[in-house]
Subunit: 577 residues, 2 copies
């Protein structure tokens, strides 16, 4: 079948020119760009006064962060003009191991959004993380044969690369030997250390937040991914990269973007609009989001309106506003005047799907599991008042940052087991939930501001163990057990009652519902947290989700207790222990 897009203003990403031209599509491929007649095609679409743009590519995204299944995500981003994404499924791989990757591959097969996959390089993220399993080079290796697998995902283990860790080396080697891409992740690394990191074969970076960092990476041969996500927003700092010397080595990515942001602001189209709003050339932004992303990943014959190229095509009413009207994916119209077609959910093995949806492998917990006791103390009540006065390390949240500080302060273990709402000292627990180990890391946290009840969630980077923050052990136990029952999600509890919850039953990370439902649910749960006293400046679940990630300084909580991130070692909760 042949479709003719007649009289459009075609954006040529090779030359940066806009040409009045017809575009002829046959099946999934563009076969002509120039002057064509109505008898050349079966279907004629008059696109006069409209712009024709290649489909957009997100070069680095974690689907799990959108809380949506691949199909539900596809519905959202296709409407915003994204026809291809390069996904790193490392969240679900931490929970479900290789089956997490199989889930993402299976559930994105043959859908109109082209979902490419980078194999997760760091599962678990660190030696302190208790993920479901450790993924070794030999686990990943067979997946390079899958056509949609483009390489090795963000290599976060920067010390491992520099020290020549054999496991790391092997993973990089397997990708490089196949002439595939190895994505990087090395914020603030510079000079000789950056040289060594890049020399290991790492070809991109999405952690740049300023011009100097980004320019050094381009000079040293990396692709710079300009990231604009929900939490990390780097476009503004990287606007100087829209510069003749550097622009051709940059692409646009979202990394982590929440469903409400996707629905309200959009996806890669949103980054293009922001660039234009900041005075940058829309053509340059489009080139970054199309042909350059394709080049970065060696996606040949993708990312341009040219003969032989895959017919991923956007029809835009306006260029500067970048308002997507129609979308073609492989020559099929999937968005018509803003409305997305139905997408059939791909089938995956029933048993696999069942396992993905029942990823909580932990026993129920009880109130007493949350009691903090010093080493050798069997019974808190038996302690003297003096003994119960202990100096502890409290994790102090720094507002609007993922960084934390260590706050050493005195608590009374016999009074509410150290919880002190007045001083904003709450209890924190990270419960291992992959392998029935029964490990629970217990401690205190300050800066969240909860005044009553407890909150819990299964999204907690990167191992996604069960994380709970509470004002009392009873509500904490109820919250934890409720998440276990849901097989993942988030919950707000007060006085033994569930006030609000949201189920994320795909690995405890993603919902099965559509984006609008998920965004609304997410909002409701968050609002309920604010009713329990948390100030609105704080995004409680996102903040909580990073309390367990021991790669961001200064102090974090693991399933086995506190981690001093800077020293990369365990520390005791009790300062004098």
């Amino acid at each position: 079948m042949k479709i003719l897009l007649k009289r459009g203003k075609v954006i040529n990403v090779f030359t940066g020119e806009i040409e009045e031209s017809d575009v002829l599509i046959e099946n999934n491929v563009i076969i002509g760009v120039g002057e064509y007649n109505e008898d050349d095609a079966d279907i004629i679409k008059d696109v006069s006064h409209k712009y024709i743009c290649p489909g957009l590519i997100d070069g680095h995204i974690h689907i799990e962060s959108t809380m949506l299944t691949p199909v539900e995500l596809a519905k959202v981003v296709l409407a915003h003009g994204t026809t291809s994404i390069v996904a790193d499924p490392h969240e679900i791989a931490n929970v479900c191991g290789i089956e997490g990757i199989e889930y993402i591959l299976g559930k994105s097969e043959d859908i109109p959004l082209h979902v490419y996959v980078m194999l997760p390089s760091c599962v678990p993220a660190t030696q302190f993380d208790e993920s479901a399993t450790e993924l070794m080079a030999t686990d990943l290796e067979p997946y390079y044969d899958v056509e949609r697998v483009l390489g090795l995902a963000e290599m976060m283990n920067y010390p491992g690369v520099l020290s020549g860790d054999l496991k790391v080396k092997e993973k990089i080697h397997d990708a490089v030997a196949r002439n595939l891409v190895v994505d990087g992740h090395a914020p603030l690394v510079t000079g000789r250390d950056l040289d060594r990191y890049i020399a290991a074969g790492i070809q991109s970076d999405h952690e740049c937040s300023n011009e100097e960092e980004a320019k050094e990476r381009v000079r040293k041969g990396q692709w710079v991914m300009i990231r604009q996500g929900t939490a990390a927003r780097n476009l503004e700092g990287l606007l100087p990269m829209f510069n003749d010397r550097y622009k051709h080595r940059c692409i646009l990515v979202t990394d982590d973007r929440h469903p409400s942001d996707l629905l309200e602001d959009g996806h890669i189209d949103n980054i293009i609009r922001l660039a234009v709003k900041n005075g940058k050339s829309v053509i340059t932004a489009i080139q970054m989001a199309t042909i350059q992303a394709a080049q970065c990943f060696n996606l040949r014959l993708v990312g341009a309106i040219a003969p032989g190229y895959r017919a991923d095509i956007l029809v835009l009413d306006d260029l500067e506003q970048f308002k997507v009207r129609d979308v073609y994916s492989e020559g099929e119209q999937v968005v018509d005047n803003g409305k997305v077609v139905q997408i059939e959910e791909p089938w995956i093995d029933d048993d696999l799907y069942e396992r993905i949806c029942t990823s909580f492998h932990m026993n129920e917990v009880s109130e007493k599991d949350f009691v903090i006791k010093p080493e050798g103390v069997a019974d808190i009540d038996g302690m003297s008042e003096e003994e119960a006065q202990r100096k502890v390390r409290v994790i102090k949240i720094i507002e609007e940052q993922l960084l934390t500080q260590e706050w050493q302060t005195q608590v009374n273990l016999k009074k509410d087991n150290g919880i002190d709402i007045e001083r904003d000292i709450l209890k924190l627990a990270v419960i291992e939930r992959h392998n029935y180990t029964g490990h629970i890391g217990l401690g205190y946290i300050s800066g969240i501001g909860l005044k009553e009840g407890a909150i819990a969630a299964s999204v907690s980077h990167d191992s996604h163990n069960l994380i709970v923050i509470g004002t009392n052990e009873k509500d904490m136990a109820l919250a934890a057990n409720h998440i276990k029952k849901l097989e993942g999600g988030s919950v707000v509890v007060k006085d033994g009652q569930i006030l609000a919850d949201m189920q994320l039953k795909i690995g405890g990370l993603m919902a099965v519902e559509p984006a609008s439902y998920v965004a609304e649910k997410n909002l409701k749960v968050r609002e309920m947290v604010y009713e329990l006293g948390v100030p609105k400046e704080i995004e409680p679940f996102m903040t909580m989700a990073f309390v367990s990630l021991p790669v961001i300084p200064d102090i974090k909580m693991s399933t086995k207790g506190l981690i001093d991130v800077n020293k990369q070692e365990r520390v005791s909760l009790f300062v004098d222990e």
Copy 2:
């Protein structure tokens, strides 16, 4: 082992900047670009005031046209700064079939010049060509597993692509399905035909001779290879491509370059110098010859001075003159102050080598094999004077072009069998020499200007049958038999004497000797032809080599007689037959 190039002016092909910097090499890879100390390395080279440039890449070359073996070619071009070439071995494949490709691969393995191979797509070039064998997709397919094979070579069968010829489709499919490159060859094709040709998956073109042609190709997504060879010199016509919109989709290639040109003018460095002489930016020319060529062929981590990149490095005394001083290939110094190191000849299977060196499969010919007789005439002498007067189609050479014209004129078959030196009507023969078929195409040629004797050669595009031009049959037979005895080469004969010869025993195409010897021999043979009356404006052997290529209009000679190239059909020598 670590080598430190200290204080060079490093050309950054990503940004176009020149930075004063140290370059640290470990084994075959660059591991640092920045400030390094003397204790960081085992060997320190002071390169202050010198330029550091990535090794140059020739994106399209036929090694056979240089008449040199891969090792001898390497010695020449390394000294000119070329560290990688992308070779299409279609000449030797026409002679030796798949074993020709094996020869090139085998004899270039692990030499300091990186020899990449594109698999010949058109062996034989046309249905009229009698090559040794026809290479089908199934013959080529296994060779895609060889790491140095980058794709399918120039698809000259443009009508086959447009008509959807199945054999052609299959060959293209095999490369595209592996995400590899398919090189194009479609001079003067434009508009819709070009769209269809490109849409088949063809990603480059090296036949552009003017700006419009080249710009259309860039707009349509192809890489434009700016060719500057011995015969075809397109740089001047394509200077407008050194333009901000188009330059990043162009690379530099030589295609066919003779040994004397390589020795006297150089290789890719020569094209860079010419571009500079024409007022173009040396940095742009370098980018075309390095990182862009690497991108075109998806050679990751090649073509730049950056961490992780292969240590193919040039040290230049001067940038505008582009004078190469030292060359490193994979971190080993292979050129020191202009002097090339010894290169060990790679071993290939003895039997294979023996077959490559004995590629003449024809019987000896005799004087009478060269006699032109009309259909049904057993004996020329028995013809009447009137019968012997025949109107024939003479191939008329157009000076300085590969094009020919048909000249219809009267000859007397009984007088010197139609040869008429006064009117410059000489005899021409193309003798099948691959499969003992005994086929000999006979006719007349004008425009060479030979006054005595005969010349013969085994280089005759693209099938490389034995081609002979002479003033008498006796000398023609001697010339032909001498070439057969040499197993290939060129020869000049007069009055039953060999005046000069040159042996090309590798498939009848390449010599085993070094470039200087080959260039000198080539010159001597040519000079001897001039002594037999050929005007110096004519390059006799190059002209002769294209008389048998039935893809260049208007009329050519095959082993089975004349071909009307425009009609793509056989025509009789006799106008009235």
